[in-house]
């Protein structure tokens, strides 16, 4: 029977199936960070269990670290102790740690791909819902809870029931000013924030194929925002070219063998999906969100919906009240206070290049605070090597040090209550960027233009 890409990878990792439908699924790579791992290490210690395969775990500090003065001890005592705990645990159990100050430190979903840890055909997990990012390489990658982090530490396996399969195809060519971020914000707006619950999504179609690896990562990254268990894209020459030569990529004969296998990783003709959607790339405009979940997105020139189903009215109006917006309102002309460019969705070198290319020779609006947080030390170094840091500084943008930063506001980078922030991150939930903060999700290009104009504009009129 013809199989989907997802099923090929899943099937190759089933150690055994148990009664009732659950599979013991083998996990190739486990990424950990300071926030969702300490209780898992405690669980192992409390049960007197060994860490089964320490060499298959890579650790970094990203969620709860500052974006300034990373060479100094972390000032905030609780954050410092959480990061210290990770260092202690990694030493105790023999886990490779790319901590603060390390040349390989960065957001866990940025460093996996750039180090070549992320490869086609692997199963990968992390105690973070955006683990789906790695699916861009044709890996089955998904976020897990801390109890599951402990399970993988103890056995390198998880007990899971197989999700349903969904395929989302985007066909044709994108309009000017439309990027990978706009594609995924559009898809989430179509399906809603729970529209893919219970499914693993394969993204396909010519518009997806045409994307760079970084664009594909942005797409897969936000799969969770429509409830999907994960998302993936069949690997192709773009994928192989990206992986080749990276520190953890297979070399020599191992590379040839890996490549031979990776080329078998695609959905066969006639394989069936539980759910399928197809969209035309030409229908997608530059997007922005107006509400408090990522499904509440509209074209930047559009209007906040006037009508919603009666059952959703209470949640909808609560959301608009929080955002200080009205039903039917246009966002054009709305003054913006902050611009945040960063997070595992959009903090890679191509994102920084997009911003730099737009702001070169321009100035951010006087009332806007514009913060750029690179996804990793390597991205930061690359930006400096290309002179992007100087372009950004000249335009009034602050280039910080790598961290999850204002995406979830665990560190000092918070948006004040009531202020509007156009953010390239993945969530616009109430308080996500700090208590009372108002987040509008958009692409790095939209963010850069907004920072310069100081308000929401039809960006297609401002393209370079």
């Amino acid at each position: 029977m013809p199989r989907t890409l997802f099923d090929k990878i899943w099937d190759a990792h089933v150690v055994r199936s148990i009664e009732g439908g659950q599979d013991v699924l083998y996990i190739d790579r486990h990424l950990i960070h300071e926030v969702t791992s300490p209780q898992a290490f405690d669980e192992l210690a409390a049960r007197n269990l060994e860490l089964f395969r320490p060499s298959q775990i890579i650790a970094t500090a990203d969620h709860n670290v500052p974006t300034q003065n990373q060479h100094l001890p972390i000032e905030e005592p609780l954050s410092r102790s959480q990061v210290d705990k990770l260092t202690e645990n990694c030493q105790k159990y023999g886990i490779e740690l790319y901590g603060l100050g390390h040349q390989r430190q960065g957001i866990v979903h940025v460093i996996g791909p750039e180090l070549g840890l992320t490869q086609p055909g692997l199963t990968m997990v992390c105690g973070d819902s955006h683990t789906s990012t790695h699916g861009a390489f044709g890996a089955v990658a998904f976020g897990i809870g801390t109890s599951q982090v402990a399970q993988v530490m103890a056995s390198q396996c998880l007990l899971l029931s197989r999700p349903k399969r969904m395929r989302i195809s985007v066909e044709g060519e994108l309009q000017p000013g439309v990027t990978a971020k706009d594609i995924i914000l559009y898809v989430i707006a179509q399906l809603g924030t729970g529209g893919a619950t219970g499914h693993f999504v394969e993204y396909a179609g010519s518009a997806i194929r045409a994307l760079s690896m970084e664009g594909r990562m942005t797409i897969c990254n936000m799969s969770i925002e429509m409830g999907a268990r994960g998302g993936l894209i069949a690997p192709d020459d773009t994928t192989f070219a990206y992986v080749e030569g990276r520190p953890f990529a297979p070399q020599g004969e191992a590379w040839d063998a890996a490549l031979g296998y990776w080329q078998t990783l695609y959905t066969e003709e006639g394989a069936t999906f539980d759910t399928e959607y197809t969209y035309a790339a030409a229908d997608i405009a530059p997007m922005i969100t107006y509400g408090t979940n990522p499904g509440m997105g509209i074209p930047i020139t559009g209007h906040v919906p006037s009508e919603v189903p009666a059952t959703e009215a209470e949640s909808f109006d609560k959301s608009l009240k929080y955002m200080g917006l009205q039903r039917g309102e246009s966002l054009l002309g709305k003054q913006i206070d902050y611009v945040f460019i960063g997070s595992c969705t959009n903090s890679r070198i191509e994102d920084l290049r997009t911003v730099a290319a737009y702001v070169q020779g321009k100035q951010k609006a006087g009332h806007v605070e514009a913060i750029i947080v690179p996804g990793s030390k390597q991205v930061e170094q690359q930006a400096i090597a290309e002179g992007i840091d100087k372009v950004l500084a000249a335009a009034g943008f602050e280039l910080r040090e790598p961290s999850c930063s204002a995406c979830l506001a665990m560190n000092e980078d918070k948006i004040p209550a009531g202020k509007y922030c156009v953010a390239t991150s993945n969530r616009n939930f109430e308080g996500r960027q700090g208590p009372g903060s108002r987040t509008l999700l958009a692409s790095p290009l939209v963010a850069a233009i907004t920072a310069v104009q100081g308000r929401i504009v039809d960006i297609t009129e401002y393209l370079n």
């Binding site: 659950q22 405690d42 801390t146 103890a154 029931s161 059952t311 949640s315 969530r427």
Partner: protein, 198 residues
């Protein structure tokens, strides 16, 4: 993990959809390195004003409502994978969350915490929310072995689905680690035939 079998309780209504885990427990409270104490900050920014005074109109602060069952709108627990959300609900005293569907990661985290995610139809959810609002003394009876939610005042019983393995785990207080660690020889055999992959 504590065992869960049956529970008779009043319920707290939260008639909002898409309640994300950032609302259940905001990220700034995730700096702790133990599992305890998250209940104090459950629904922190909906429950308290910035000056830490309680918001009177929030269900958890309303003396009319109480009990170990939370009844909430569809797509409960979406967003971040933080298991701290399930710990916060459990630590506060909830043992069951009723909704018309749950986000996948939250559902798994709840089951691993000993908190039962109980899925009912949209219609039943709507009726329950309205009935609790009208009569906060309304009791529900959750019986895991028979997979039923009963509303004695209505004389009605609804069945719910749960994975048979997870049901046994919850009834007996077992968790997946015990099971997986006992699979070591099968896992090692599997690794040998996949050794080329890493």
């Amino acid at each position: 993990m504590e065992r869960f079998q049956t529970l008779r309780s009043t319920a707290v209504p939260l008639p909002l959809e898409n309640i994300d885990t950032d609302q259940i427990i905001p990220a700034r409270f995730l700096k702790a390195t133990t599992r305890e104490g998250f209940g104090d900050n459950l629904f922190r920014d909906w429950r308290y004003n910035p000056d830490n005074s309680p918001k009177a109109d929030f269900a958890l602060n309303n003396p009319r409502y109480g009990g170990q069952v939370l009844v909430a709108g569809k797509n409960f627990g979406c967003g971040s994978s933080r298991e701290h959300a399930a710990w916060a609900l459990y630590d506060y005293g909830f043992r069951v969350v009723v909704s018309s569907y749950f986000a996948d990661i939250f559902r798994g985290n709840a089951l691993n915490t000993g908190l039962l995610p109980l899925q009912v139809s949209d219609e039943t959810l709507g009726r329950l929310l309205a009935a609790i609002h009208a009569d906060p003394a309304l009791e529900v009876v959750v019986d895991l072995p028979s997979q039923t939610l009963a509303v004695p005042a209505w004389g009605e019983t609804f069945s719910f689905a749960i994975d048979p393995y997870k049901k046994e785990c919850l009834i007996n207080g077992y968790d997946d680690i015990d099971f997986l660690v006992n699979q070591k020889s099968a896992i090692e055999a599997f690794e040998k035939q996949r050794a080329w992959a890493w």
